[in-house]
C-alpha cells in the first residue's frame, strides 16, 4: 500500500514537472510581459496582441517558410538516400558491403562541432564557384545533414524483417531492380517511412548549430535562429517570445500526437 502511494506520488511529481514548462509557455503567450514577470499563472486575453507585436517586430512568416522548406526537402531526400542504402546493404548483402556499412556507422561518433569548421570552409570555397549552393543558402544547410548513418542503419534494420519472396515475385513479373524498390519495397514499408519521416523532420525543424553557422542574412533565418535571437534581446517582451515559442513548438507537438505510435516505433527500431 505504501509502495503504491509512493509510486503514484513520484509519477505525479514527474508528470507535473514535465508538463509545467509547457503550461507556463502557453499561459504566458496569452499574457502581457509585465504580468509574466509578476508570475501570473492564469491565462489572459493578450494572445492576439502578442501575435501582432511578434509579426511586427520579426519576420516570422518567412522564417516559418524557410524552416518548412529545409525540413521537407531534408526529410524527403534523406529518406530516399538512406532507404536506398539500407535496402542495398541488406538485400545485396556481401562481405565488402558489410565492411563499408560498419565504416559508415563510425560517422555517428563524429561530433558535429568537429565538422562545422571544415564544413564552413568547404562551403566557403564552393561559394566562389557556385554561390547558389554556397554559404547562406538553403542547400548549404541541407547537403551536409541530409545523409545520416543513423537513418541508413534504421532502414537496414527494418529491411531485415522484410519478406524477401515478394521481391522475387516482382522480378519475375518483369520489374527492374529499381522498379522492385519503388513499386514493392516502398509501399510495403510505409510504417518504417512514417517513423523515419518523423525523426528526420523533427531533427531538421529543430536544428540550430549548423544553420547558425551557415545562414547569415536575416531573410534566410530559420525558426530556431529567430527564437534564439528573440531570447537574447536586452529588453525581452516575454509575452511575445512565448508566443513565438508556442508557434514553433506546435507543428512538432501536433505531428507527435497524431503519429505517436510511429514515433515510438521509430525510436525502438534503432535498437532492435
Amino acid at each position: 500500500m505504501l509502495k503504491k502511494v509512493f509510486g503514484y506520488g513520484f509519477l505525479s511529481v514527474a508528470a507535473i514537472i514535465s508538463i509545467f514548462p509547457f503550461l507556463w509557455m502557453i499561459v504566458s503567450s496569452t499574457n502581457k510581459s509585465v504580468d509574466v514577470t509578476k508570475g501570473r499563472l492564469l491565462p489572459g486575453s493578450h494572445f492576439m496582441e502578442n501575435l501582432n507585436n511578434l509579426l511586427n517586430t520579426v519576420d516570422l512568416v518567412p522564417a516559418l517558410m524557410n524552416s518548412a522548406k529545409i525540413s521537407i526537402i531534408t526529410t524527403i531526400l534523406g529518406m530516399l538516400i538512406a532507404s536506398l542504402a539500407g535496402y542495398g546493404f541488406e538485400i545485396y548483402q556481401s562481405k565488402s558491403k558489410d565492411y563499408l556499412f560498419n565504416f559508415l556507422l563510425l560517422s555517428m561518433m563524429i561530433p558535429f562541432a568537429a565538422l562545422m569548421v571544415p564544413l564552413f570552409r568547404m562551403f566557403g570555397t564552393i561559394s566562389q564557384n557556385a554561390p547558389f549552393i554556397g554559404i547562406d543558402t538553403i542547400s548549404a544547410v541541407i547537403l551536409p545533414t541530409v545523409t545520416t548513418a543513423f537513418l541508413i542503419f534504421f532502414f537496414r534494420q527494418s529491411t531485415k524483417m522484410f519478406p524477401k519472396d515478394i521481391l522475387e515475385a516482382g522480378r519475375i513479373d518483369g520489374l527492374t531492380e529499381l522498379g522492385v524498390f519503388f513499386r514493392i519495397y516502398i509501399p510495403t514499408m510505409k510504417t518504417t517511412y512514417a517513423a523515419a519521416a518523423i525523426i528526420t523532420f523533427m531533427a531538421s525543424w529543430n536544428s540550430y548549430l549548423w544553420p547558425l553557422v551557415v545562414l547569415q542574412s536575416p531573410e534566410n533565418q530559420t525558426i530556431p535562429l529567430l527564437i534564439s535571437n528573440l531570447g537574447s534581446s536586452y529588453s525581452p517582451d516575454f509575452g511575445v517570445i512565448m508566443t513565438a515559442i508556442v508557434i514553433a513548438t506546435l507543428p512538432a507537438a501536433l505531428i507527435f500526437f497524431i503519429m505517436q505510435k510511429h514515433f515510438v516505433a521509430g525510436m525502438m527500431g534503432s535498437v532492435k
Binding site: L11, A14, P21, Y92, A113, A114, V213, P224, S232, M242
Partner: protein, 307 residues
C-alpha cells in the same frame, strides 16, 4: 529468368557469373549515393580538420605550425575550463537521468498502475520541444525574478531568490536540470519497451524468495536491461560532449566561462572571436578523443560486470 539455350551447362555457368556481377553492380549503386555523401560530409571534413589543426593564423590565412596548436591546447585555461564543465555535466547529469528514467519505467511497468498512458505521455512530452525553444523557456523560468524563484519563495523553501543564471554554481545546476527535463522521457521509452520483454515469472520467483523491491531493482532489473542501458549511456555521453544549444541559449556560457562547453568554445573560436580555424580544429579533435575514451570506458564497465 535466364533463357535456356543449347549447351545448357556452359551457358548457365557463364550467365550466373554474369548475373552475380550485374547484381553486385546494382547492389553497389543502391548504396553509392549515401556512401559518397557520408564520405564527403563526414570523413573528408575530419581529414581537413586534422590538416587544419596543424596550421594557425587568422581567418583563411593559415600557415603550417606542426603540433604547436596541440601544445597550446594543454596550456589554454579556457579550453581546460570547458573540458571541466563538460565532464561535470557528463558525470552528474547522465547517471541522474538514467537512474531517474529507469526508476520511472519500473513504476510504469506495474501492471496494476492506473493512468499509465497519461503518465507516459506527460513524461515523454518534453522530447517534442526544440532544443532552442525549451532552452529559452528555461532561461526565463529560472530568471532572477522568474517563476521558479517566485514559487520557491512562496513555498518558503528559500528566503532570497537564487541567482540561477548568474552564479557559477547554480548556472551549472540550471543547465543540468534543463537537460534532465528534456531527455529523461526519451530514455524512459527505451527502458519501458525493454522491460516489456522481461519475463514476469522472474519477478514472481524473486518475490517468493523474499527479495525486497530495491534488491529486485538492482539484482534483476538492471542486469536484465544492461545492453539497453549501455546503449543509452553511450548516446547520452556523445550528446553531452557535444552540448551546445542549451548552454548557448540559457546562459550563453556565462557567468564568465562557468558553463561554457567545448562545442561552444569551438564556435566562439571560429565565429565570435577573431577566427582561428586551425586552433578551433585542434579543439574539435579533443571532443573526438573524449568521445572515444568515454565510449571505451563504458564498454569496459559493462563488460566487467558480465564476467
Amino acid at each position: 529468368m535466364i533463357p535456356a539455350k543449347a549447351n545448357p551447362t556452359m551457358q548457365t555457368a557463364k550467365s550466373t557469373r554474369g548475373l552475380r556481377v550485374k547484381n553486385a553492380a546494382i547492389g553497389w549503386s543502391f548504396v553509392a549515393i549515401a556512401a559518397v555523401m557520408i564520405f564527403l560530409f563526414y570523413f573528408y571534413p575530419m581529414i581537413q580538420a586534422f590538416i587544419m589543426s596543424l596550421q594557425s593564423g587568422r581567418g583563411t590565412n593559415l600557415t603550417f605550425v606542426g603540433l604547436e596548436n596541440y601544445a597550446r591546447l594543454l596550456k589554454d585555461p579556457v579550453f581546460l575550463t570547458t573540458v571541466k564543465n563538460t565532464v561535470i555535466y557528463l558525470i552528474i547529469q547522465v547517471p541522474i537521468m538514467i537512474i531517474l528514467a529507469l526508476f520511472i519505467s519500473v513504476l510504469l511497468n506495474d501492471k496494476t498502475l492506473k493512468f499509465k498512458g497519461f503518465f507516459r505521455t506527460a513524461i515523454f512530452l518534453p522530447c517534442v520541444t526544440s532544443l532552442v525553444a525549451y532552452s529559452v523557456t528555461f532561461k526565463y523560468l529560472f530568471g532572477q525574478d522568474g517563476i521558479v524563484n517566485i514559487m520557491l519563495m512562496k513555498m518558503s523553501l528559500i528566503a532570497e531568490p537564487i541567482s540561477w543564471l548568474t552564479d557559477p554554481f547554480w548556472a551549472k545546476i540550471t543547465i543540468i536540470a534543463a537537460i534532465t527535463w528534456r531527455w529523461t522521457g526519451y530514455n524512459m521509452i527505451f527502458y519501458l519497451s525493454a522491460l516489456q520483454n522481461v519475463d514476469h515469472s522472474i519477478y514472481e520467483a524473486a518475490k517468493i524468495d523474499g527479495a525486497s523491491p530495491i534488491q529486485t531493482f538492482f539484482k534483476i532489473t538492471i542486469p536484465m536491461l544492461k545492453p539497453i542501458i549501455l546503449f543509452t549511456s553511450i548516446t547520452s555521453t556523445i550528446g553531452t560532449l557535444q552540448l551546445f544549444d542549451e548552454v548557448m541559449n540559457i546562459t550563453a556560457g556565462g557567468p564568465g566561462n562557468a558553463t561554457m562547453t567545448i562545442s561552444q568554445y569551438i564556435y566562439n573560436l571560429s565565429f565570435k572571436y577573431t577566427p582561428d580555424f586551425g586552433y578551433a580544429a585542434t579543439v574539435s579533435y579533443a571532443i573526438v578523443i573524449l568521445i572515444v575514451i568515454f565510449s571505451i570506458i563504458q564498454f569496459k564497465v559493462a563488460g566487467d560486470k558480465n564476467a
